[in-house]
């Protein structure tokens, strides 16, 4: 029965909420001892950061993990200037508004283009295609560099959570151009703010609008309008050059209702699947959000390109979403609907459950989920309070949570780069490896984003790519990445058998055991030793 209960909790957050009133069962007599200070430090660095770099364990242990975490909760107060400058210098697209992005990375044909000769035209197109590649690559590169090098590690961990929660696929249409702005102004900007603000920002961002088709969702055509179109179609079959007339032109540009975004808004972004809402609500919410698109006309981001509300595409008739009546004729009713969803109790539970799963345990207990949900509700959706509630709950350091999660490919790769203090000069090699492991960044086609549970990543076969990465990394065979000589410096000119324990201790929280030691004994250099440790089961866990 316990198994069934835990499965129910795992799979259905609302039930989790209903069960939350139950007291947790008393600890059995043979309960494992609480985590030591050493283990807590590792646990915090594994879950609230992308693993420790050299020296991090000592630093955090000296400071106390709690103080470290409180400081991480206020990322802007942490000095990260080196990285911030590097990002600003290398990835200018991340700071641009959408109009500038567009002008720089997909420029219009220059004036007098028609008069240019063919080679000049070709040169322009070549230039523009290159710019288009660059803007996409800058985003991907920045994800890796920030995850590896940011001192605001918790921010990076949390940003990756929201990046998947509000997933967009960079390769869908103009998302190629817009995703950079999305990462900065939707995900990063609000990651320590309020949930409703992030939700609303995502709803109004062109990238989400493109990705989930709301950009084309309009009020349904009336019967008469459809008839006009049909007449034109017939006319044009006979005479392809037939004139449409103004009315028909207007109608022909009109599309109609598209439910895609409205569904995922409730299923994936707020309430959880089939939770509180029905197909009827999906359709009604889609009608509320008709006319929410993007264009050059208004200035929501201080930029001439961005969210646009099209009155002529909006369905002004009465709608009923989750029992609430909407009679509005402006975008305001969509804003109200989204704010209501953000504050729905189902949303508090769903977000708390999902984040608990990410930070604590693949099967978070109902009590923990309720703690997070309560903090979320009581703070009116403050994300910082939600993070605090989950991490400071006793469940976070429960022995059963310790090292119980399998690192996702991103977590594995970034933690290996951090552990080895690697110099990533060009992240493309790393991104290529991630794609081969099944996790190409910003290219998750399904709106679920990448999952973070063990079950999603631990298939027989995946290990070879991790082992290959571990060995290639220390051999300098991951393109664009070098492990610095300083990493191995302390172990130089010493017998490998003597340094083995030190190497192991620098990379994983506990001794590896006999079998792994036998493997490590085969290493001929300290570098190989590091590579082998990165490929052990111990390094795959967090």
């Amino acid at each position: 029965m316990r198994i069934i209960m835990s499965l129910l909790v795992l799979l259905s957050p609302p039930l989790g909420g209903l069960l939350a009133g139950n007291e947790p069962p008393p600890a059995p007599a043979d309960a494992p001892p609480p985590l030591s200070a050493h283990q807590r430090t590792w646990h915090a660095l594994n879950r609230l950061a992308f693993g420790p770099g050299p020296g991090d364990v000592l630093t955090v242990q000296a400071m106390g993990w709690r103080d470290w975490f409180e400081r991480q909760l206020d990322p802007s107060a942490l000095d990260d200037s080196t990285l911030v400058e590097l990002i600003a210098e290398r990835f200018p697209s991340l700071r641009m508004d959408l109009r500038t992005t567009w002008e720089v990375y997909w420029p219009d044909l220059p004036k007098g283009f028609d008069e240019l000769d063919q080679p000049q035209k070709d040169a322009f197109f070549e230039y523009r295609n290159r710019q288009y590649e660059i803007v996409q690559q800058e985003l991907l590169d920045s994800v890796i560099l920030r995850a590896v090098y940011s001192k605001r590690q918790f921010q990076e961990v949390i940003v990756d959570f929201w990046r998947n929660h509000f997933n967009i696929d960079q390769t869908k249409g103009l998302c190629r151009l817009m995703a950079n702005h999305y990462e900065e102004n939707v995900i990063r900007k609000h990651a320590f703010g309020r949930f409703e603000d992030m939700l609303l920002a995502s709803a109004q961002h062109p990238a989400m609008s493109i990705y989930l088709d709301n950009e084309v969702s309009q009020k349904p055509l009336s019967k008469d309008e459809r008839e006009v179109l049909e007449q034109i179609r017939r006319k044009r079959l006979k005479d392809p050059n037939a004139q449409m007339g103004m009315v028909a032109t207007r109608i022909s540009r009109h599309s109609g209702l598209n439910e895609n975004y409205a569904r995922e808004l409730m299923e994936l972004h707020t309430l959880g699947v089939d939770n509180f809402y029905s197909q009827g609500d999906v359709r009604e919410l889609a009608r509320v959000l008709t006319g929410w698109t993007h264009g050059w006309e208004t200035v929501p981001y201080g930029s001439p390109y961005g969210f646009v509300f099209r009155h002529d595409h909006h369905d002004p008739r009465t709608k009923v979403v989750l029992g609430e009546i909407y009679r509005g004729k402006t975008e305001e009713e969509g804003v109200v609907a989204i704010r209501r969803l953000a504050h729905h109790r189902g949303t508090a539970e769903f977000i708390s459950w999902k984040l608990s799963r990410y930070l604590v345990n693949d099967e978070p207990g109902a009590a923990l989920v309720e703690k997070g949900a309560r903090a979320f509700r009581e703070s009116r959706g403050s994300l910082r309070e939600l993070y605090r509630a989950i991490v400071l709950a006793p469940e976070f350091f429960e022995p059963s949570a310790y090292l119980s999660k399998f690192k996702s490919p991103l977590e594995f790769v970034v933690s290996a780069l951090r552990a080895t203090d690697a110099h990533v000069t060009d992240p493309r090699g790393v991104l290529f490896r991630l794609a081969r492991m099944g996790q190409p960044i910003y290219r998750c086609e399904a709106p679920t984003g990448y999952f973070d549970q063990t079950e999603a990543w631990l298939d027989p076969g995946v290990f070879v790519h991790r082992w290959d990465f571990a060995l290639s990394l220390v051999n300098g065979q991951v393109a664009g990445v070098q492990v610095p000589a300083t990493l191995l410096e302390p172990w130089r000119d010493r017998k490998l058998s003597e340094v083995r324990t030190e190497v192991v201790n620098s990379l994983v929280p506990a001794p590896l055991g006999e079998r792994a030691d036998a493997l490590l004994a085969k290493a001929q250099t300290a570098g190989q030793l590091v590579g082998l440790v990165l490929g052990t089961p111990a390094f795959q866990k967090q």
């Binding site: 069934i4 055509l221 699947v273 679920t448 298939d459 027989p460 076969g461 290959d468 060995l471 079998r515």
Partner: protein, 464 residues
């Protein structure tokens, strides 16, 4: 999990036989020399993720409602007069249905009675969530979230024997489709993997694996040599079937059992991938025969493994991107391009394997749900209910359309909007397993809560 195989791994990798055990005598029990008698049919599953639109795959070209509710995306009837430039009509296969013109490469398979489309097939659960619908279908347990293992994996478990081949099932992509996930270890590998990496870590994972195996093993089996003879004498299933109503064995996630899973996955990576590496290097899949891109490569790899006489029973690939909410296109366009790729891959695959081999191969495509019968306001279609499957194989009674069809009149649609489901996907799965492997899914209580299908058998397989 085959415990004796664990014992074997332990011995091979940890010194009793030697760390070079590639491929051990165990493997060759099924290799070329005696492959013919033991070779079992192969089922190739292609999952069209996103909810593929059935009405533009199998076009009901005589249905007036079809053209009324899909004014911009309908596929024209054969011989239609008012075609716009570049527009192509469907390819008639029966007096009521035609194939999308981009599926023309499947027409010869239809003519050879290899192709059996199944209409109005899907889930008994009404969800329109991609992700729940996929899970329910891949677990073959609509609405039952306590089942967490794929139906294909459950089949592999229930029929596991002592001499299961390393590549009894595999998926040529980085991660397994959920239908293949579960306790039975199945390889996911998008092509060969690094030998260097396998060699470096083989001992560690295999030996740890052996240690774990020792803990769980039946003491009587300790030290028993597994030989081909033994295997033939004792083909008993190694997995006990759970009692009715019993929860699946899903231990809580802790470090200890994560360790076990890591070791298990690592050891299986070594064993299975070494074998796949060998085959793919030996067989040299001719990827040039297939359409360019990942799907073509995957079909080429599967064909190469089959042609190397490996007893692969199940191969599964995912083909994503079928969620055509807007601008799905008609006879050309987004969906058409994908249909062409799929059809060409299947046709090349059938051709590559040849008639004789196709006698023991079946391809089955599926999708989580169909789409709205009417097009939506953005020249696409939204999430619907009933979908369609395509079955291709030498043993099928192909050349006919399966499944009940009641037209597209709104009164005949599910909640006035979608194709209904008349054929439970479990009917198709059950018939497939029974037809290919004589698997008795009733006796095994294989599909939870599915004991008494309302439908008569579809009769997908040709008699005799």
């Amino acid at each position: 999990m085959a415990t004796t195989r664990r014992a074997f791994l332990k011995r091979t990798a940890c010194g009793v036989i030697g760390a070079t055990a590639l491929p051990g005598p165990f493997v060759w029990a099924h290799s070329k020399t005696d492959a013919e008698p033991t070779r079992r049919p192969t089922l190739v599953i292609v999952y069209l993720r996103g909810g593929a639109d059935p009405l533009n795959m199998l076009v009901p070209y005589r249905d007036r409602d079809y053209y009324a509710i899909r004014p911009t995306i309908a596929i024209a009837a054969p011989g239609a007069k008012d075609l716009e430039e570049g527009q192509r009509p469907c390819i008639p296969i029966t007096r009521d249905f035609g194939l999308h013109p981009a599926m023309e490469s499947l027409k010869p398979l239809w003519d050879r009675r290899l192709l059996a489309p199944i209409l109005n097939v899907g889930s008994t659960h009404p969800t329109r969530s991609h992700f729940d619908a996929q899970d329910f279908m891949e677990w073959a347990a609509p609405g039952i979230k306590s089942i967490q293992e794929g139906w294909l994996n459950r089949y592999l478990q229930r029929t596991a024997t002592r001499n299961d081949h390393f590549l009894r099932a595999f998926s040529p992509q980085p991660l397994l489709p959920r239908a293949l996930r579960g306790e039975y270890s199945v390889l996911a590998a998008p092509g060969p993997g690094s030998d260097l990496a396998l060699d470096a870590f083989a001992d560690l994972y295999e030996c740890e694996h052996g240690e774990h195996a020792r803990e769980v093993e039946d003491p009587k089996e300790e030290g028993a040599q597994v030989t081909k003879d033994d295997a033939e004498k004792d083909p008993t299933p190694l997995k006990k079937k759970p009692k009715k109503g019993e929860a699946p064995a899903s231990p809580p996630v802790t470090e200890e059992n994560l360790d076990r899973r890591l070791i298990d996955a690592g050891a299986n990576t070594v064993q299975k991938l070494r074998h796949l590496n060998d085959i793919l290097r030996g067989a040299k899949p001719d990827r040039s025969k297939y359409p360019q891109g990942v799907l073509g490569q995957q079909f080429a790899d599967i064909a190469a493994v089959i042609k190397a006489e490996q007893p692969v029973e199940i191969a599964a690939v995912d083909f994503g991107g079928w969620d055509h909410h807007s601008y799905q296109g008609g006879s050309s366009g987004q969906q058409a391009n994908m249909l062409r790729l799929l059809s060409d891959c299947v046709a090349r695959f059938v051709d590559d394997l040849g008639t004789t081999r196709m006698e023991s191969v079946m391809i089955l495509t599926m999708t989580e749900f169909g789409r709205t019968a009417a097009e939506n306001g953005t020249r696409g279609s939204d999430h619907g209910h009933g979908g369609c499957m395509l079955a291709v194989g030498g043993r099928l009674a192909g050349g006919q359309v399966y499944g009940k069809w009641t037209g597209l009149h709104p009164s005949r649609l599910y909640v006035n909007r979608d194709l209904p489901v008349y054929t439970d996907f479990r009917d198709v799965f059950a018939e497939t397993l029974a037809g290919l492997y004589q698997f008795d899914w009733r006796a095994a209580d294989f599909f939870p809560g599915f004991t008494n299908p309302a439908n008569k058998p579809l009769g997908l397989f040709a008699a005799g």
